[in-house]
Amino acid sequence: MLANPELEAECIRRVIAGERHLFHNLIRPCERSIYLLLLSLLKNEAEAEDAAQETAIKVYLNLHLFRGEAQFRTWVLSIARNEALGRLRKQGIRREESLDAVTDDQTGDYTPAILTSWREVPTAALEQKELGALLRKAIEGLPEIYRNIVLLRDIEEMDIRETATALGISEGAVKVRLHRARAMLQRELAPRLKAFAPKRKGLLWGRA
């Protein structure tokens, strides 16, 4: 919708200059990312929604502070992240910083699920509720530091740099975690997803 940074900058100027209603257009392309990031951090749908609303209001109130060095969405997500961390702190939950150090040192040695070839992507099967549920369950089952990365990079399709900025970690850490997360998902999902793959005659689906 507002992927063009110049249009975005123009829109921001106009909102600040008084055309407040344009703020709706500005925030709309970001709202999914905001929600998914918050859900990943807060792990509670109702609280993620509440925090998303709070984030949108803070973005509006602080719009004059946006300098345009980062992408607008990245800036918005850093506000969302602060909102989530503030809430977690209030609940007495320490998170992220401590997790950062620990888990990256673990060896990423894993054996993927080896299958016979599986080239077709069963996107048509997404019409069936079960496939979506299977994917969501696998993603929810990932350790938090991996789930955050997957949500932003693979589900929201942000680039590595934007993902790193939004989560406040290095690009190197994003790459390492992304690799491990995808490896875990492949192992978990590939054997089951084959059941959804379009069937071809004369082809044996390997042992799962």
Binding site: I114, G132, R182
Partner: protein, 81 residues
């Protein structure tokens, strides 16, 4: 230099991202030509990545957007400045 399956697995994600140098890419491509299991691992990993990017996988809660914009409207109307 020949690379083995484990080596290929280590670079699968970067390979999908296009984030491996040309030498390594060449080695991996050569390996994939003859190794069916690595080809299958690559395909299935890539398929998982493609599926996750589909908007139908993670839908926002019903009414989320409407409630958000109503809240924004209240702020725009009654908020300061």
């Amino acid at each position: 230099m020949r690379i083995d399956c484990k080596h290929v697995w280590q670079h699968i994600s970067a390979y999908i991202e296009g984030d491996v140098d040309s030498t390594l890419r060449g080695e991996i491509d050569k390996h994939l030509e003859t190794c069916e299991s690595c080809s299958a691992v690559l395909d299935s990993t890539r398929n998982v990545v493609i599926l996750m990017a589909d908007d139908r996988v993670f839908e926002l809660p019903a009414g989320f957007s409407q409630r958000l914009h109503e809240r924004i409207d209240r702020e725009l109307q009654f908020g300061g400045s």
